[in-house]
Each structure stands twice: as C-alpha cells, then as structure tokens.
C-alpha cells in the first residue's frame, strides 16, 4: 500500500512506539496530522459530491394540513429545494380538489415572471399571490374562506433544468370553531407536572449541596437531619443578637 493510504490507526501506532531515547520531532507529528486531515476532507467531499450528483430531483414543500375559521384568510405556503440556482423560468402552479371530487382544477399559475390568478373558478376575486419566486416562495393567500373551500391544494414547482419531482399537497379544514389539536392539553399537563417534579428535585439537591458547602452553618446532630440543623443554627444566631 502506498504510504499515503495507510489506514489511520496503524500509522499512529508505528509512530508512537515508545523508545525512550528517541524524541519524535514536532514537525513530523504536524505533517502526520495534516495528512490525516487532508484525507478526511477528501473523503467527505467525495461523499458529498456523490450525494449531490444523485439527487437532482426538485423537492416541493408545503404544510401538511391547515385549519382555519370561517371567514378568515388562509396563507398556503409552498417552497422548493433544488440543487440548481433559481432560474428566471421558475414556475409555480396550484391545483384544487374539493372534498369528494375526483378531479382537480387549476387555480393558479406563475410563469415567466407573471402570476396568473384564477378569474373564473371558485376562488375568483378571493386569491392573491403573496410569494416571492426569486426566493423560492410560491405562496398564495385565500381570503374569506368558507366551508365549500374544504379540500386538497396541490403545489407544483419547476425550476428548469430541474423539473423532475412530485408535487406536494396541503389539506384545508374550515371550522366554525377551531378545536384544540389532539394531544396539546395532554402534553402540556404532563410537561408541567414533570417539569415541576424535576424542579423540586433540583432545588432539593441544590439545598443539600449548599448545606454541605457550609453556606448554611450546621450544628451536627446524631441523625444529620438538615431541618433540625438549620433551626439549631438559626437559634444560635438569634441568641447573641438578643
């Protein structure tokens, strides 16, 4: 094996053989460390390049679900991740499939720097483009949502030449009264109680630690009870004051 590729541990062992008469020079050691760092760096960059060259698919991100009250405005966010730079030909398109329908209709399209908003469908005059395509944000704003707007919204983004990827869905739920999400109160109660428990235990150990460090002066009793000790010391201090 060429010397540059000798595996890490063997190289060090051969170097650190303790012979008392001989001092390994510092420059040799630094050269060793530099070789090791360079080889690790080379490995990492090869791995990263390998990952980069494989995943050229575009990845579109939206929320999973959105809950909204009747009559409020909902912002559906859509973003994407791509290894290419953001091209000027980036396109965003939104489709809407009502609950129970089989087909999705197209409600928004952004191409060539111009947003095209739905003017004939269910969202005419209610939709606004609030995204920033140069920052990879293709979000739309739905105003004054109603129960008929329940459904699945699909965002598809394309960043030429990176066009292979699957769109992402967000479900819209419109409520009269927004219910408490499952598990929020449960988690809050459990968290608070366990937090208090940990706090009490921490304070207990802190007091014991402070007593041991004689921050509070102790009178030694047979059982070493801290309570009695503190009271005894308080009485002792009160005595001379009187």
């Amino acid at each position: 094996m060429p010397s540059g590729l000798i595996p890490f541990p063997f190289h060090l062992f051969s170097f650190h053989h303790p012979s008392l008469s001989r001092n390994p020079s510092h420059t040799d050691l630094r050269g060793e460390q530099r070789e090791i760092m360079l080889s690790v760096l080379a490995l990492t960059s090869v791995v990263l390049l390998g990952i980069a060259s494989q995943t050229t698919a575009i990845v579109v991100y939206t929320s999973w679900e959105r809950h909204a009250l009747v009559g409020t405005d909902v912002r559906l966010s859509c973003s994407f991740f791509s290894w290419q730079w953001t091209s000027p030909d980036v396109t965003f398109s939104w489709h809407y499939r009502p609950d129970g329908a089989k087909e999705a209709i197209s409600i928004f399209h952004y191409a060539g720097g111009i947003p095209y908003v739905d003017t004939k469908g269910p969202f005419r005059d209610r939709m606004e483009f609030v995204g920033n395509p140069s920052r990879r944000d293709g979000s739309i704003l739905l105003k004054n949502v109603d129960f008929a707007d329940n459904g699945t919204f699909t965002c598809d983004a394309k960043n030429p030449p990176d066009i292979a990827g699957s769109p992402s869905h967000v479900r819209l739920f419109v409520f009269e009264k927004v219910p408490v999400q499952a598990g929020v109160i449960t988690g809050a109660i459990i968290g608070v109680v366990l937090g208090l428990l940990i706090l009490i235990v921490a304070i207990y150990y802190l007091m014991r630690f402070l007593v041991a460090r004689r921050v509070f002066s102790l009178s030694m009793s047979k059982h070493g009870r801290k309570g009695k000790g503190k009271e005894g010391s308080q009485q002792k201090q009160a005595g001379p004051l009187k």
Binding site: P179, V180, Q181, A182, G183, V184, I185, T186, G187, A188, I189, I190, V193, L194, H223
Partner: protein, 157 residues
C-alpha cells in the same frame, strides 16, 4: 417481616399493572360493537377494527394526561422503593416512595372523577362503561392504601 415486604411489593406491582392496563387499553366506554376512549374510537366490523381518533375534547385530554402521570408516578415510586430498600438507614421511613404513591393515587382519582363527570350520556341500552374505567376506579383505593403502607412502614433489621 419478609411476608410484609413481599405483600407490599405484590400490591405495588398489582397497582402498576392495573394502571398500565387502564391507561393503555382503549376501553373506557363500550357500545356493544364499538369501544372508545381514552385514545381511539374503534368499531368492530366483521372481525376488523375501524379506528379513528377521539374528538379532541379538552376534558378527555386532561384525563389522558392524568392517567399517564399516575402511571409514571407509580413507576417512579416503585423504583424509589427498590432504591430506598437498600440505601435507607435502619428505622427510616420510605418517605419518597409514599409521596409518589400518594400523588399517583391523587392523579388517578382526579382522572377518574373528571371522566365520570364529563363523559357523555348513555345513548342506548348497550352503552356501558368498559373495563378500563372500572380498573381506573379500582386503582385509586389500591394506590392510596399502598401509599399509606409506605408511610407507616419502617426499615428494620
């Protein structure tokens, strides 16, 4: 003395098992074919179970939290008991074990009371309380008795 120790351990383990079953089994109410609360709403259809999450009522989440906390505290008190069994001085009391066990019984009591008060009315004849509900109410006096035993128990040689 060994008999008392064994009986105490058996009681504590029984409490722990009852609390675990009551918390994890999804059978606080049953409707004949459908058993629901505390976590899911499952309907039995031809041998298959069709489950959905329970409605996110506030009181139900509080009951969930209290039952989980009671189980956790019972477990902690058991671990404390085993620790204190070996590290306590002679003549000492199992103070922390008792505290956690009594707290666990208080949590179970609160959870069972909240569930009893807030659970919806019986709609038809098949609607009844399930076994997990009964176990929760059973766990309350058992953990309380166990806690009091630990208050009274002293380590002897």
């Amino acid at each position: 003395m060994l008999a008392i120790l064994l009986a105490t351990i058996v009681l504590h383990l029984t409490d722990l098992i009852i609390l675990f079953i009551s918390t994890c089994a999804n059978a606080w109410r049953t409707d004949g074919v459908r058993n629901y609360h505390l976590w899911y709403d499952c309907t039995q259809k031809n041998g298959e179970a069709d489950c959905s999450g329970t409605s996110d009522a506030d009181w139900l989440q509080a009951v969930q939290a209290l039952m989980v906390l009671a189980t956790i505290f019972c477990l902690i008190s058991f671990i404390f008991f085993l620790c204190q069994l070996f590290t306590l001085v002679k003549g000492g009391r199992f103070f922390f074990t008792a505290v956690f066990q009594v707290l666990a019984s208080l949590f179970v009591m609160s959870g069972a009371i909240i569930y009893t008060v807030m659970s919806p009315e019986m709609k038809n004849e098949n609607d009844a309380y399930g076994y997990a509900f009964v176990l929760a109410w059973l766990a309350f006096p058992l953990t309380l008795i166990s806690g009091f035993i630990y208050i009274v128990l002293r380590k002897k040689e």
